[in-house]
Symmetry: C2
Subunit: 199 residues, 2 copies
């Protein structure tokens, strides 16, 4: 195997394993030693690739944010109108599909780092602004298509995003996934109402 490939794979392996361990133990309790043990390598090899712990955490965060972003990606086939597409996106946004993409515990743990690390804060901010901009565009498309009447797409995109973020925050405190779904449905209904779509 080419060396370049080895380096890339190893780095990915290490970040993945960091993620796995962090899911169970929490980021703050995930050490080089634990990651190395699970990978059956020496801790010093991790240092070889990541130099120090901060760099490793930053990689974890970048991985996390990439995953987060994926929730928005639905193939936009020409079969659908912008309106239909927007509805599909909303259905996905207020579903439990996030769980397949990332672990809430790890995600929120990374998030808390924004309060002490300006660079991380910036990354999170950019991601969220991007997603909100994306949602705004979808709404604007519908307005242009005249399939939707929304006065201020930007504001509505913010409202829906806030609603969504707050709903996930809340349902993460619930153990019953049925109850989670109901709360998500309730919020989704409001989201649709906000764009003037009554289901």
């Amino acid at each position: 195997m080419a060396k370049q490939a080895i380096a890339t794979i190893r780095k990915k392996e290490i970040v993945d394993t960091f993620y796995e361990v962090a899911q169970v133990e929490g980021i703050e309790n995930t050490s080089f030693a634990k990651i190395a043990q699970r990978l059956e390598i020496q801790p010093s090899l991790i240092v070889h690739y990541f130099k120090n712990r901060d760099e490793l955490i930053l990689s974890l965060i970048e991985y996390n944010l990439e995953q987060y972003k994926k929730i928005f990606t639905i193939a936009h086939s020409d079969d659908h109108s912008h309106r239909e597409y927007l509805i599909m996106v909303l259905d996905k946004l207020f579903s439990l599909e996030w769980n397949d993409l990332f672990d809430d515990g790890v995600y929120y743990s990374c998030f808390t780092l924004i309060f002490r690390h300006p660079v991380i804060k910036q990354k999170f901010k950019e991601l969220h602004l991007e997603l909100r901009g994306h949602l705004e565009n979808l709404i604007s498309n519908c307005v242009a298509e005249k399939s939707l009447q929304v006065e201020n797409p930007s504001v509505v995109a913010n409202h829906i995003s806030n609603l969504m973020d707050g709903t996930y925050y809340f349902v993460s405190m619930l153990d019953d996934s049925l109850a989670q779904k109901e709360y998500l449905e309730e919020s989704k209904a409001l989201a649709k109402k906000l764009i003037g779509f009554y289901s």
Copy 2:
């Protein structure tokens, strides 16, 4: 001073100092030694009062949740109608006054513990359900008073709460407090709209 009083004061001192250090260093980097140093006592004295780290963290969380709860407490004088009171509460909920009550960084750090500690999860859940119930009551009072027309106070209380939680989550990524205020205002406007109050 009575021994009982000393014990109570010391415990409070320790939790307060934990909080202070955690604000700057993060919970995960706040050790017995650091707390002790700031208080000019021996680390072992902390152990004397808290037995182990988990117990200390639990106390921190309880302190945090008490503070959180305070945002809802506004004296309800008889001078105000339920409707006026509700508006006052909403104004407060969507203000930056939370910052005076607790540190967002510490709060979210505590929150992330819900994903690995069922007891903590339960505490957070109860708090939020209580606050949502409280808000629902305020709305119901207005409906009874006939100063508001809301079909389902419970659902609307959830919507407003989700909106609020999501808005704070989002504005914590912003550095500019003016921008924070604008986003909060935007969300507050929707909250008022949701109860049929147009300002």
